[in-house]
């Protein structure tokens, strides 16, 4: 089977600071990969590279057969294939919930407005936010904002969804509703790469768990392999710390 994401010897540094060191990672279609690791280990940077928000110095990333390197032009065309959900939602505050969701459709895909609204309704329905279609982001809770942000990314019909700590800015009682949406997305067969410290989610949904440390993948396997039987001492230390 062809890989949906294929990362080969990816390196990224900011000045002298090496943030990603020669990362290799393949993700199959419909696979859900959860990335864990200490703060500063490069998790966000890796996701941002997969969405080409950061330009790596070295290595290639192949998305659904299309290879991208530091010389590739027209990155915005490839980005449509990859949806991204941010820790702080990043909804557009000057647009209603519905307009947030259809912005990509009308501006990027040039879908006619009426049709975009139909698709937008379907997406909002999916995340249980249709009743808030006409309000501004300032009027809804954090969990609701994140669900709208997921709908906004899904509206572009991406092949891959990236989540960077999607629940870590939320009050504890709002985490569940967002994880529920992510879980049903995984069940529908979406290819997902998720940075999270929600271990319940990792146990239930992840096909593979990756532990990153200082810009490298030091351990990976099923949830049970990584959690119950970690091979690496650093993984052990990290896990004892978060559980």
């Amino acid at each position: 089977m062809d890989h949906m994401i294929k990362i080969k010897s990816l390196s990224k540094s900011y000045g002298k600071l090496k943030v990603l060191k020669n990362i290799d990672l393949d993700v199959s279609p419909s696979e859900v990969v959860v990335i864990i690791g200490a703060s500063g280990s490069g998790k966000s940077t890796l996701l941002r590279c997969i969405n080409f928000l950061e330009k790596p110095q070295k290595g290639t990333i192949t998305i659904d057969g299309k290879e991208v390197n530091h010389k590739t032009k027209n990155l915005h065309l490839i980005r449509r294939e990859v949806g991204m959900v941010f820790q702080h939602f990043n909804l557009f505050p000057h647009m209603t919930v519905m307009n947030n969701v259809i912005e990509g459709l009308t501006q990027v895909k040039k879908v006619p407005h009426a049709e975009a609204i139909e698709q937008g309704k379907a997406m909002l329905e999916k995340v249980g936010m249709l009743d808030k279609a006409d309000v501004y982001p300032a009027m809804i809770s954090g969990g609701q904002k994140q669900r709208v942000a997921i709908a906004r990314a899904l509206a572009m019909n991406p092949q891959i969804m990236l989540f960077d700590e999607p629940t870590s800015a939320l009050d504890p009682e709002l985490v569940g509703e967002v994880l529920q949406v992510m879980k049903s997305l995984a069940e529908e067969g979406m290819t997902m790469v998720v940075v999270t410290h929600e271990m319940g989610f990792a146990r239930e949904v992840a096909d593979r768990v990756i532990y990153m440390d200082e810009g490298q993948i030091v351990e990976q396997g099923s949830f049970e392999q990584v959690f119950d039987n970690p091979q690496n001492d650093r993984t052990k230390a990290f896990l004892s710390h978060i559980i």
Partner: protein, 218 residues
């Protein structure tokens, strides 16, 4: 001075106030246009654009408006012969353009980085992100400082008296020296300025409140 005389004088100020309004309005218009252009140049990534913008802003902010006005009206005489009012409008426009450029630049740069990233990750181009996501939010944030700048421009328009534009200040001084009523004539001019600045303040406050509906951190 009895009230009837006062009113008589007061009425003669109306055409001068109209001139003040006109040079202010067109000066601001030119200033906003220049401000947008130079703000975008200033934040661009090519030196070819940022350098001229920086140069313009620092020259204008580093020299007095009165000097700029005299330069345009008298100094350019051998190149172009401009009338008094166009000279005043151009000087006011160029001068305010530099300040407005800085206001827009600050507003644009104050928009959270995540906004740009969200747009980019939807597949929008840099231009689309600027036009659809950044500028609408930046414009809202620029309103209070812009309103402030407009009030400064209105008051600065009095410098046009130095090149003989028949605006409020020149009119009051001419009347004052003709009738020896310096205090009274300057007071009438002050009343006109106060009315106009109050209206400007009222308008910007109202606009600000109206646009606030959706404006909270997200």
């Amino acid at each position: 001075m009895d009230f009837a005389t006062f009113l008589e004088y007061f009425r003669t100020f109306i055409p001068a106030a109209w001139t003040t309004l006109q040079i202010t309005f067109f000066g601001i218009l030119v200033g906003v246009l220049l401000g947008i252009i130079f703000a975008l140049m200033r934040i661009s990534k090519t030196k070819f654009l940022t350098l001229p913008a920086k140069l313009y802003i620092s020259i204008i902010r580093g020299t007095p408006l009165l000097l700029q006005l005299l330069l345009i009206y008298f100094g350019l005489v051998n190149i172009v012969r401009l009338d008094r009012i166009p000279s005043a409008i151009i000087a006011l426009g160029i001068h305010n353009g530099a300040y407005i450029a800085e206001i827009f630049r600050g507003a644009i740069q104050s928009i959270d980085r995540g906004q740009k990233e969200a747009g980019i990750s939807l597949g929008m181009t840099g231009g689309q992100v600027m036009k659809r996501i950044i500028l609408p939010q930046a414009f809202k944030r620029a309103i209070p400082p812009l309103g402030n700048q407009f009030i400064i421009a209105l008051k600065d328009s009095s410098l046009a008296s130095a090149v003989g534009v028949q605006e409020l200040l020149l009119h009051s001084r001419q009347l004052a020296s003709a009738n020896y009523l310096m205090m009274e004539m300057l007071t009438i001019a002050a009343i006109f300025y106060l009315i106009m600045t109050s209206i400007l303040t009222f308008l910007t406050n109202r606009l600000e409140r109206r646009l606030k509906v959706s404006d909270h951190r997200v």
